[in-house]
Structures are given as structure tokens and as C-alpha cells.
Amino acid sequence: MAYVDGLTNTEELDENVLRSLMSIDPKEAEEWIQADEHQERFIPISSSGPVNNWQDGLLHLSGGHALLLVQDKGFFLSVTRFETRQIVEPETEPVIRGPKDGFIESMRINTALLRRKIRTPRLKMKTLQIGRLTATSVTIVYIQDLADPKVIQTVWDRLQQIDIDGVLESSYLEEFIEDHPYSPFPQVKPSERVDVVASSLLQGRIAIVTDNTPVVLTLPITLPSLLQSPEDYYERYTFSTAVRWLRIALFICSITLPSLYISIMTFHQEMIPTQLLNSIASAREAIPFPTLIEVLIMEAAFESLREAGIRLPKQVGFAVTIVGALVIGEAAVSAGIISSPIVIVVAFTGIASFTVPRFAAGLPIRLLRFPLTVISGIFGLVGMMIGLIVLCIHLCSIKSFGVNYMSPFAPIRTGDFKDVIVRAPWWKMNQRPSTVHGNPNRQPVSKPSADRKE
């Protein structure tokens, strides 16, 4: 008998395996060993089987199974028990109203969490091992007849082609299976929330659950879908719609606000009302730098603070944020390095970029703000527009597993607007997103309180 201590449930081993082995009488044991098949039926373990060579046996051992060696025969007994984390609310994606369960590091538990939400037998899972050394289990999950079989096949093929030493996080896979590996925009949606992944599955998308990470990938995605928060669907639809508009506005702000400020301050001062212009001008009087340099300094400072705030331990992180925001900002303004309007602009841009519900979607925006800022400093509004055109050309040319990234805006799919521009009430959402192909378009909904009197 062999097993790795710590990976194996020794209690179960004692209780079910050793006890039945000890209680077996010698005659029966002889019979048992001689028998050709189904030897494992003498041991009350749900999952077991024969092992034919050492290679297999070692794999089973490191997977947490126990090996039982009798004369020239070997069996594995699945008595695995990993220590796992509690199922808690994911810290990165909190909601006020909604289920609080998040994925954890064990793939089996994660798939079970999904299965608990979607009970249909059409929920299918296929598992494979990736990584020469880590042999990480990866499961793709989809609902049959809803997900596009072509996409499933593509994902499966691409996953099988991956040849790498180890997979420690699902982002390893993400980079291998994307359509446009050089694009700064994410083409799959990472999430730690069970309800987010479940709702994606119900829309006909595909999920990839990776062992040892709580981050589950869903695909295909579109840029507008990255601006949706799970809570949109749990709060009343009127409010959710308003919040969605706010979020879209802030998303645009987070890209363009610094460049807009620079272009207007540098080339079109006449657009600012006179009194405001006066106060801005007097604030800028002592500053030796042009607006562009000022914005770049402030943006760099802001990004450093953000980075420091994330990397440091929590208690220190708070201190850094406070020191950075209050002390450095205030001191820089009074020392005449930057002017106060810049602080407002950059701070507001920063806040705006925090409102993007998907952290991964906020990253390219943070990055692309810098080239846009520079070109606006050189060419003003024209430069900003040219920069935005280039950005949009890129966004319009990329696809996430055959789905246009900017859909439903480009190409326009008016049917999908009810879940993008507004959040229609559930009884109006009688269609799944048309962009995720291959599914029957109608999603049955009933009328709201059919018995009510008008």
C-alpha cells in the first residue's frame, strides 16, 4: 500500500480500505487475487481500478490516489482529499445584492458549483490535462445546443495544441487561445463569480475552468459585455439602465478626458467659459511645464500610487494611498510642479477607470491613455480624433472566437441593444445575444404577473 501523506484522506483509507483488507479471510483473499477482473469490488471505494505500469502508478500517487499492490497486480484507490479554501465572496468582484459564492482553487469544486446552479443534463464538461510538468486539469463547460459547436471545437483544438511546462493560472491558457495575441484587449472574460459564469453559460457562451485557480474564463466576449456588472441583473432595471449609461460615459471619459483637457488647453482655450479660463490660467501661471508634461507627470504619479497600493500589504497600502493622494498631490500643487486642474482631471479619470466592472478591461484603457495623451499634445483635437479612429479600427477588426468585438454597435445588431444600451426587464429579454452564434434565438419568458388587473 502506498500513498502520499497530505494528499490522501487517511481516515477513509483506515475506515474503508484497511478494515476490509484485515477482515478478509485468507481463503477469500486467495480467490480474490486469482480472479481476473473486478477485484476492486472487495474494497468499498467508489472510484478505483487497475494500474498496469509504474508510470501510471506514479501519476496516480501524485494525484492523491492510494496504490494497493498485491503480488504482481496493482490497483489505485481514489481517496483524495486536498485541503481547500472556504467558498467565500470573491474580493475582486463584490456585489451588494446577489449570491456571494465565488470559485476556489479546486477545479472539481468549481465545476460542482456550476452544476449546482445549472442542473440541466445538457450542461456538458470535457476535461484535459495541460502542462508537461504540472499536468493541470482543464475543463471546458458549455450547455449543449446553446453553445456554438464550432466555437467548442475551436477552443478544444487550441487547448490541445498548447505545449508548455506548467499552467499556474488561467491567464496562461488565455494567451494561448486568443484570436489576436498581440492585441492589448482581453478576448476572454475572467471571473471569480459563479453567477457570472453561469449567466454566460446560459447565454450560450463557453467556460474554461482551470485547476488550482479561482479564475474561470468565459468566451466569446464583446467589449460592451465587459461593461456589464452582475449586479445590473439583480437590481431594478430602471436603475441598472441608468447605471449602465453612467458606466459607458465614464468608460469613454477614462480614455479621452486627459487628452481632451490637453487639446482644449493647448489649442482651443476659447471653448472654456471666460471666468473658468481665468482661474485655470492663474492656477497655471506658476507652472513651468506645458500641459502635456504636467498631465504625463500626474498620470505617472497616479499609476505608481495605484501600483504601490496593490502590491503592499493592506495596512501599509492604505498609508501609501493617503500619503500619496493628500500629501504629494497637495505639495506638488503648492510647490508649483503641477496645477490643481490637472489633479482634478487625472483623479477623475482614475475614478472613471475604476468603474469598469472587469478589471481586465480597464487595463488596456489605462495603457492606451498615454499614447492618446501624447498625440493630443501634438495635434490637439485632430490628434485625439485620429488616435480614437486608430483605436476603433483596431477594436472593429478584432474578433473573439468569431464574434465581432464591438458588436452590437459595429456591426449594428438592434436586437441586442436591450441588454447593452439598456438593461431590459427580464420579461422583455426574449432573445439570447445574437452575436453568440449557433443557439436557438428564443429564450422563453412569461408575462409579468399575468393575473394582474391593468
Binding site: 495635434f379 485625439m384 480624433m385 479600427i393 472593429c396 477588426s397 456591426p411
Partner: protein, 361 residues
Amino acid sequence: MEQGRISDGQVAYLLYVTVIATSILIMPSIAGQQAGRDFWLSAIIAAVFGFWGIFIALSLNKLYPGLHPFEMFEQLLGSYLGKLLGIVYLFFFLHANALFIRQYAEFVITVFLPKTPVPAIIGLMAAVCALAVRGGIEVLARTAQLFLPISLIVWFGLLLITIPDWEFQNILPILEFGALPSLKGGFLLQTWYGEFIMLAFLIPFLSSGKHIKKYSLWALVGVIITFVLISFSSLLIFGIETTNFIYPFFEVIRYINVGSFFENIDALPLAFWILTIYLKISVFHYAMVYGTAHLLKLSDYRSLSLPLSLLLAATGLWIVPNTQKLIDFFSSVSPTYFTCFNTLLPSIVLLAAWIQRKVKG
């Protein structure tokens, strides 16, 4: 050669934007030179040419289903003459597009960047268009669907603000000197309406093409409404003065003043105009790049996009010395020039094709 396919609706977007992008700024002043205060009538009259352009494109497509115009030329005139006509059209695209990109540059210099050298402005735009055309017709169509609604919302939202200043007496007297001046003005406007012939160069990339007639007519209706609205807004505010401005639409926006804080915002809506002119230049650039690759029998046109955009930028620099010459060109030479390529030549091709069909039976 082109794998991408676009929908009928996307063609309507591209057609609409191709026609209005350059015209929206100077349309009232060009037509006004001949039509006086009746230039809004000219905008309606000239729509006949738009209709004619759509008719030619659709009829040619009926005679040669799914063929690119260059292929039609070769089938109609034989290999050598057909290719020659194709080359003539390529030069037309290059020259016309150079005019557009120069017009864009001159406008940017007037409104946004008075001190920036022209080559920088033209070069930037040519590079962006090269990038878009490299992406293919699908990308072009998608950016059109993304940009056009935004620009239209901004422009018409701003026109709404000017409504309190509209003086309806400014329209009168209608047809003061008879119908002739408006007809003459209409002839000047067909420079742009004639661009509906670009439909012929877009039809080969349609995915289904079932509703193309309906959608291209919607594009025409959209253009008429836009022209009339633009004409009215400047006419009702400035009256006959409109004809003295170079960019009347620009003056209308400059006129906006709400509560003395929302004023002088002219740069913002004109920044959105850049989105539309980018689309127009890209459509013409695409026609040129695709046509060149077709004539040279290349397997892919994408690699030609950047080199030809360099040629475009160079031609744009060389084509006219200054804004005044450009406006001169648009009001004197261009009506006959563009009519020749947009309306006359395609009409002759259509006629020839018909006769050939009849003779062959």
C-alpha cells in the same frame, strides 16, 4: 481577393457618409453662388443625379451580377480597352481622393491647427486610412456604423440648439429669378450626389444584396434630408449672407451660444467631422487599392494599401497651392470633372452594355 462581406445596411452607411462628408461643410455656399437663397431647392433637385447613380449601379449589377466594375469593363470592351478604362478610373480615384484629403487638411488648418505644416496633417490621415483599408472592407463598414451615429447625434443635437434663432422670413422670396438659378445650383451639387456611383464599387462585396435597392435609396433620402437641414439652418440664421461664407455649417455652429458658457464650441462638432472624412477617404482609397490589385492580378490587395497611401499623400500635397484655389476648383472645374466620371462615363458604359446585350440577344 476580398474575403470579407458586408450587409446591405452597411453599404447604406458607407454611401451616405461618402456623399455627405466633404459636402456638408461647403454645400450651401457652392450651391448658393448660383441659386442665391434657393440653394435648399437645389439640394432637392440635384437628388435626381443621386437617383441616377444608384440606378446605373444597380442596372450594371443586374447585367453583370456580382462583378466588380473593372471586370465589367473588361467583359464589355475587351481586355485591353477595359483595362485602359480601369486605369483611367484609378487615376480618377487618386486625384479625387487627393482633393478630399487636401480639403480636409485645409479645413483643419483653418479651424484647428493654423501653424501645423500641411504634410503632417495629410500624412497622419493617409496613414490612418491605409490602416483601415488594410483591415478590409468589413472593418471599414464597421467603423462607419460606429462613427456615423455619433457624428449625426452631435451635429443635429447642436442644430436643435439654434432653432430659437431661425428666421423663417429668410426663405422668402422663393424662386425670385425663376427656376433656372436653382437648377444651376443643382448642377453644382451633383458633384456629390454623383458619388452614389460608388455603390457599383461596393456591390461586389455584399453578402446577400437582397435589399440593396431599398437601403441605397434610404441612403439617398438621408442625404437629401441632411442637405436640406444644413441648408435651412444656415439660411434661416444668416439669410442670403450664407453664400458669402466658405464654410456655412461651421458658421452656424460658431453661432451657438447658450447662457454664455456653452459658446465657441465649434471645434468639438468639427472634430467629429474628422470621423466622417476619414470614412470617405478610406472608401475611395479602398476602391483605388482594390482596383490596382485587381488590374495587376495580385492575390491580395492589403500590401498595396500603405504604398498607395503614400502616393495619395504626395498627390494631396501637390494638387492645389491653397484653400482659395481649392474652393475655385470645387465651384468651377469639379462639376464637369466629377460629372464626367461619376455620371457620364458610367452612363455610357451602361448604354454600351445594354446595346451589347441586345445585339448578342
